[in-house]
C-alpha cells in the first residue's frame, strides 16, 4: 500500500478497533502499577466507540475521519489518555485537511502536529514519561525515512521500531504528569502505559500498510 484513501483509513481504524481491546489486560496492569488501572478499560471502550462511529464517517475525507474518530474515542472513554489521544488524532487530521489520500510524505508532519497538540493540551515536555516520548522520536524517524525515499510500509515499520526503542526508554523516566506524577522516583522502572498503547497502534498500522498481518 502506497497511499491511504478514505476507505483505507476506515479499514485501518476497523482493524485497530478490533485489535486493541485484546491488549486490555496488559494495559490495565501497567496502569495499575503507576496509575489507577483504568487504561485497559478506556482502550476497550474507546476503540469500540471508534468502530461504532465509522459507518457515519463513510464519505468523509481522511483527515476528518481521524479527527472525528479521536472525538468519538474521548466521548465514550474520556480520561487523560482519551483527551490526549483525541487531541493527537485531531491535530494529525488537521494536518492533512483537504487531502483525499494520505501519503508517506504526510506522516512526519502528522506526527509532529500530534505531538505539538498533545504538548499544548497537557503541558508535557520530552522526558516526562508521556506519549510525547514516543511521538517525537517517531516524527524524527519518519522525516529521515521520507528523505531517504522509503515506501509507506518501510517508513511505518521504521517508525514502529523507533517507537519500541523509545518506549523502552520511558522506563527510566520519572513521571511528571497525571497519576504517575505523584509517584515521583517510584514511577521509574515501569514503561509508560499510554506510550505502550501508542506502540501497539503503530504496530497495527505498520502491518496494515504492509498489506497483511505479519507481526
Amino acid at each position: 500500500m502506497e497511499k491511504l484513501s478514505a476507505s483505507d483509513v476506515i479499514a485501518f481504524l476497523r482493524m485497530l478497533a478490533d485489535e486493541m481491546p485484546t491488549h486490555k489486560e496488559r494495559l490495565r496492569e501497567l496502569d495499575a502499577e503507576i496509575g489507577d488501572g483504568d487504561l485497559g478499560v478506556t482502550i476497550a471502550i474507546g476503540m469500540k466507540a471508534i468502530r461504532d462511529g465509522l459507518p457515519e464517517l463513510e464519505g468523509d475525507e481522511p483527515g476528518v475521519i481521524l479527527a472525528r474518530s479521536g472525538m468519538n474515542f474521548n466521548r465514550e472513554a474520556a480520561s487523560t489518555f482519551g483527551a490526549i489521544f483525541a487531541t493527537a488524532l485531531m491535530s494529525a487530521g488537521k494536518h492533512v485537511r483537504g487531502k483525499a489520500e494520505i501519503e508517506v510524505e504526510d506522516l512526519p508532519g502528522m506526527i509532529e502536529a500530534a505531538a505539538s497538540g498533545v504538548s499544548a493540551r497537557g503541558g508535557a515536555r520530552p522526558g516526562e514519561k508521556t506519549i510525547l516520548d514516543v511521538l517525537l522520536p517517531m516524527a524524527e524517524t519518519l522525516e529521515r525515512e521520507v528523505a531517504e525515499g522509503s515506501s509507506l510500509p518501510e517508513a511505518a515499520r521504521a517508525a514502529h521500531e523507533t517507537c519500541l526503542e523509545a518506549l523502552e526508554k520511558t522506563k527510566e523516566m520519572e513521571a511528571k504528569h497525571g497519576r504517575g506524577g505523584w509517584l515521583k522516583e517510584k514511577s521509574v522502572g515501569v514503561q509508560d502505559p499510554g506510550s505502550t498503547a501508542i506502540c501497539l497502534m503503530v504496530d497495527c498500522f505498520a502491518r496494515f500498510v504492509s498489506g497483511g498481518d505479519q507481526s
Binding site: 489486560e25 490495565r28 495499575a32 503507576i34 496509575g35 489507577d36 488501572g37 483504568d38 485497559g40 478499560v41 478506556t42 476497550a44 471502550i45 474521548n74 466521548r75 465514550e76 472513554a77 474520556a78 480520561s79 487523560t80 489518555f81 482519551g82 483527551a83 490526549i84 493540551r121 497537557g122 504528569h177 497525571g178 497519576r179 506524577g181 505523584w182 509517584l183 517510584k186
Partner: protein, 335 residues
Amino acid sequence: MKKLINDPFEFVDETIEGLLLAYPNHFERCEGSDRALKRADGPVEGKVGIVTGGGSGHIPVFLGYVGPGLLDAVSIGNVFSSPSPDDMLAATKAADSGAGVLHLYGNYSGDKMNFGMAAEMAEMEGIEVQTSLVADDVVSAPVAERDSRRAVAGLMFAYKVAGARADEGASLAEVKEAADLAIFNTRSMGVALSSCTIPAAGEPTFEIADDEMELGMGIHGEPGLRRTKIMSADEVVDEIIANILPDLPFEEGDEVAVLVNGLGATPPEELFIMYRRVVHRLDEAGITIRQRYIGEYATSMEMAGASVSLMKLEGDLPRLLDAPAYSPLLPQWPK
C-alpha cells in the same frame, strides 16, 4: 470479583438508571447527555451554577452532592475515568441561569483536560465559567507543589461551602472565592487496607497482603506514602495527624471541621474509633473541633480504608458549613 452487577460495561448506566428511578423529584438528565444529571428544580433563577464531575465509583462523590444548598449539575465518567467534554458541557448549560458557572472538581489530569475543553466550548456559547480545583491530599506532593496534589474526601468541604455561598445569592467571583478558601484550608490523608476492583477491568487494582496497609493511598488506588504492616487505628490516626497539622499549618487556637471518611468496606464502628483518637490528638494540639462529619462522604468502591480531613474555619466557612443542604445520597448533616 465480589460484586452485585450485571454487564460490567453497563455498570455506570445502570447505576444512573437506578438513581433516576429512585429520586425522580431530585435528579433529572441534562439535555443532550446520558452522562450528566442536574437538580430537577434547576437551574435556579439568578443563582450561580456549580458543576462538578469525575469518574464513577465514588458515591456520594460526585453525583450525590447535587441538590439544594449543594451543586447544580454533574457529569459522570466511566469508573475512575473523566467524563467527556460533551457531558461536561451539557451539565454546564443545565446549571447556568445566566449568573455564570463554577467548575468545581478534583485535581486530576483527565478531568482537567476534559473540563478545560468543556469550559472553552461553554464560553463560546456565552456562558461565563470559572474553575476551582480541589487538591487536599497532603501525601501526593510536597506543600510547595500544592497545585499538583490530588483530591480526596476534602471535596465535601468545598462542595458544601460553595453550594451554600451560591445559595446566598453570591456572584460567581464570590462563590469561587469561598470555594478556594475552603480548598486552601483543607488537608487530608488516608489509608487503604484492601483494593477496589474496576468492574470492567475485572481484577483488583492492586495487590496487598492480608497483614499490610498502605498509608497515603489515593482514592483510585494510587500508590501512597508507604506500605506497612497493619498498624492500630490509633497509630494510623497519629501518623495522619502528624502529616496534616504542619502542612497548612493548623495551630493552637484554630477552630476546625473534621471529616473521618470511610472508603467503602470499613465499617462505621472503626470510623468512630478513629475519630476518638483524632479528638485526643487535636485536644493536645489546642485545636477546637467545631463540626465533625463521620461516615462515607467519598468512597472507592469496596476499598477498605479511611481518611481524615481537617478544614480550618475562617471567615464565612462556619456559617456556610451549617447552612441547609439536601441530597438523598448523603448522611444526615450533624446538628
